[in-house]
């Protein structure tokens, strides 16, 4: 049984040896409840974001409902903090559950959805789900689906050279692996003698917007491509948070101790389609990781249906109330477009236009 994940909060993984001695990958009850609570919070957050979009409280929704079983354990395993001795995260726009599991405030996603001046991630500049938290090494999430694979090698290289304790985690979807940046990531992370402490997580939801996996990939598994580079690989059912916890724990342990790259490919669901551009409607044919996990928790008598229903209702009410508050928060002022263009003289503009134009 997995018991020590995130003891004391965040980032103390079980050892690989512990995992191997475990007959089953079941989480102990306390940890199972914690993972469930975070998955549920992440799901309810996504539902609220979608509702906000549909009510006109946001211009666009994109997120990760269906990736919670993978992303919550990922967030809990992170060695959270700032600098080389902590883990760097190069995530994608479906990573909300990861950042939430690290301890971020869900209300901040509502602010980014509503494009308020109080949005701490971008001050109303970016889509929801584009988080950035420097104090936790969460680098800015970009809308392109591949660029993080090229940028992640840089933080990993800094950690390699410093022989630091931290590792770098990069995450993307299956569609993004068709881009050259994915090849860049494999090439640069596996150079002999200069291997990078890099955990590559591919969340394979079987789609690139509307194009099915088979229409884009000839390889049986994306992870197979990493084998040619001598990179450790693993496949996991991304709809099972217990299997994900086990696989991620092992992958984290490998990268942390061996200081070499590892690619974990997780099969996940895309429960509300690509984004609001495709309607953001529930796709009932997809496996829902919440349903399966909740059924298990009920069977094991860790949580009752009534308890889980109560939690869902409570989180939903809390976020509804928060979204109404966020609605009253101020929008960014027009002149703030000039803020933070450059990191020196005009860090914050003077409100009189472009400070670089004397």
């Amino acid at each position: 049984m997995i018991s020590s994940l995130a003891s004391g909060g965040i980032g103390v993984p079980s050892t690989a040896a512990e995992l191997k001695s475990s007959e089953r990958n079941e989480l102990v009850p306390d940890l199972a409840r914690k993972v469930h609570e975070l998955m549920l919070k992440a799901r309810v957050l996504e539902e609220r974001l979608i509702a906000m979009y549909k009510q006109g409280d946001g211009y666009f929704w994109i997120g990760g409902p269906g990736e919670e079983a993978l992303n919550v354990p990922l967030g809990l395993l992170v060695n959270k903090g700032q600098g080389l001795d902590h883990d760097y995260l190069h995530l994608h726009y479906r990573s909300n559950a990861t950042v939430l599991a690290m301890g971020a405030d869900p209300v901040d996603w509502l602010r980014q959805m509503k494009s308020t001046a109080t949005d701490p991630y971008s001050r109303g500049r970016n889509f929801a789900g584009h988080t950035t938290i420097r104090k936790w090494n969460v680098v800015p999430i970009n809308s392109p689906i591949e660029v993080q694979f090229s940028v992640a090698i840089g933080t990993a290289e800094a950690q390699r050279k410093a022989k630091s304790k931290g590792i770098t985690i990069v995450q993307g979807g299956d569609a993004g692996t068709a881009e050259g940046d994915f090849a860049t990531c494999l090439v640069w992370s596996s150079r002999k003698g200069s291997e990078l402490p890099l955990l590559i997580v591919v969340a394979n939801n079987q789609y690139g917007i509307s194009t099915p996996f088979e229409g884009q990939h000839g390889e049986a598994h994306i992870a197979d491509r990493a084998k040619a580079f001598g990179i450790q690989t693993a496949l996991v059912d991304g709809n099972d948070p217990e299997m994900c916890t086990a696989a991620l724990t092992e992958a984290f342990h490998y990268v942390r101790t061996q200081r070499k790259p590892c690619l974990l490919e997780a099969t996940v669901s895309r429960l509300y389609g690509h984004s609001s551009a495709t309607g953001a409607k529930l796709v009932r044919s997809e496996v829902d990781c919440m349903d399966h996990f909740e059924q298990k928790l009920e069977e094991r008598k860790i949580l009752t249906r009534a308890q889980m229903n109560e939690m869902r209702a409570r989180f939903t009410a809390e976020l509804l109330e928060a979204s109404l508050r966020v609605r009253e928060e101020p929008p960014p002022l027009p002149h703030t477009i000039w803020d933070y263009v450059l990191a020196d003289k005009n860090n914050v503009g003077n409100g009189k236009g472009d400070p670089w134009q004397p």
Binding site: G83, L84, Y88, D119, P120, Y121, S122, R123, R125, N126, H130, T132, I133, R134, V139, P140, N142, P144, V147, F149, S150, V151, A152, I153, G154, T155, A156, E157, A158, Q159, K161, G180, D181, T184, V187, W188, R191, D339, Y340, V341, L342, A343, D344, N347, V348, W356, Q357, P358
Partner: protein, 353 residues
């Protein structure tokens, strides 16, 4: 006097010794070659990367995010076109994250024609570079400015593009353009810092005691004073414009050559002052003429200084053709030459309103 490439190398040395440069890298940047133009020979943090421009720029951004101070080289700017979106990301990280992160990095890349570089070693990048907000963009025209601009680029908290006019890389500085600390004897300097031909495995450079000299980013330089025509230019075209101005001086035409040195931010105050003096403007650069950086300068001059002008502003730039042809006649016909610069200045000077 040092050449421009020696000046750049010495600045990078000062950068890694005193300004925190952690990584100087790119294709062929590390030993044994030390850069195809020799710009990174003998540098202790120089290393060879895979031949992958997206990886080079991505690595630089990642290193900067991790608090390092990288200087990345794209071997020729012609090969930077497949990293435009990563350059955009380097430029937008600070803004998109509302000041949460900044990326302090230098990307250096040789630009322009003049070495018979054919279709893929002659491109210019100034129009592209100035189209990417969030970056500072500099281009020196002499070794001393190259040294001072590189030190400023390294010290800057933003991404800075250091465009190297490749035709000038082996040109020595003029009297009065000495880099603080460089030996006065060229041969002595070469012996100290140029790697020998052949086996260099045991070679180590002997660096002169160099001073810190910063050319502020955003400050232009008057390369040549004159009262009749303002010539706004940078990089390789600065010595060409100066030569043209010197020749025209004999005909009684006074051209003021403004070496911008920084393309963004650019020195509007200096430009304005010169235009208010001469009332006639010529922009000269090698990039293709449609949507050219000189067009921006002309647009602003026309909008803000319209009633100062005694002649229509003129742009002399590269022909809008898909490449710079290899044959001598083709290269000359594609980018401005001293003769065409001279003719354009003279035409403006003689223009009657």
């Amino acid at each position: 006097m040092a050449t421009m490439i020696q000046a750049i190398r010495m600045a990078l040395h000062v950068g890694e010794e005193r300004l925190g440069v952690t990584d100087i890298f790119g294709q062929d940047v590390g030993p044994p070659l030390g850069g195809i133009f020799t710009g990174t020979q003998g540098l202790k943090t120089a290393w060879n990367s895979p031949l992958d421009e997206r990886g080079i720029v991505g690595m630089a951004i990642g290193l900067a995010l991790a608090g390092q101070k990288p200087v990345a080289e794209i071997q020729f700017c012609d090969y930077a076109f497949n990293v435009i979106d990563l350059l955009k990301i380097a430029g937008n990280i600070h803004w998109a994250s509302a000041g949460d992160w900044n990326v302090s990095l230098v990307m250096m890349t040789p630009v322009g024609a003049g070495i018979r570089g054919s279709i893929y070693h002659s491109h210019s990048f100034d129009a592209q570079a100035t189209r990417i907000p969030g970056w500072k963009v500099v281009m020196p025209s002499n070794p001393r400015d190259a040294y001072g601009l590189m030190l400023s680029a390294i010290a800057d908290p933003n991404p800075v593009m250091f465009l190297e006019p490749k035709a000038l890389l082996r040109v020595k500085g003029q009297p009065g353009e000495q880099i603080p600390g460089e030996p006065s004897d060229d041969k002595a300097l070469s012996k100290m810092i140029d790697a020998p031909l052949g086996d260099r495995s045991a070679w180590k450079p002997e660096w002169p005691k160099l001073g810190e000299f910063y050319v502020p980013i955003g400050k232009a330089r008057i390369a040549c004073s004159g009262n009749d025509v303002t010539v706004l230019t940078y990089g390789r075209n600065v010595p060409m414009c100066t030569l043209a101005a010197n020749e025209l001086a004999k005909e009684g035409i006074g051209a003021e050559v403004v070496d911008l040195r920084s393309l963004h931010p650019y020195d509007w105050a200096e430009i304005k002052q010169s235009v208010q003096k001469t009332h006639r403007v010529l922009c000269v650069n090698e990039d293709t003429e449609i949507t050219n950086f000189g067009e921006h300068l002309i647009r602003r001059i026309t909008e803000e200084l319209f009633y100062e002008l005694h002649a229509p502003p003129k742009l002399l730039a590269g022909a809008h053709v898909p490449g710079v042809g290899l044959a001598d006649a083709l290269e000359r016909a594609t980018v401005p030459q001293v003769s065409s610069i001279k003719a354009a200045i003279a035409m403006l000077a003689r223009h009657e309103p």
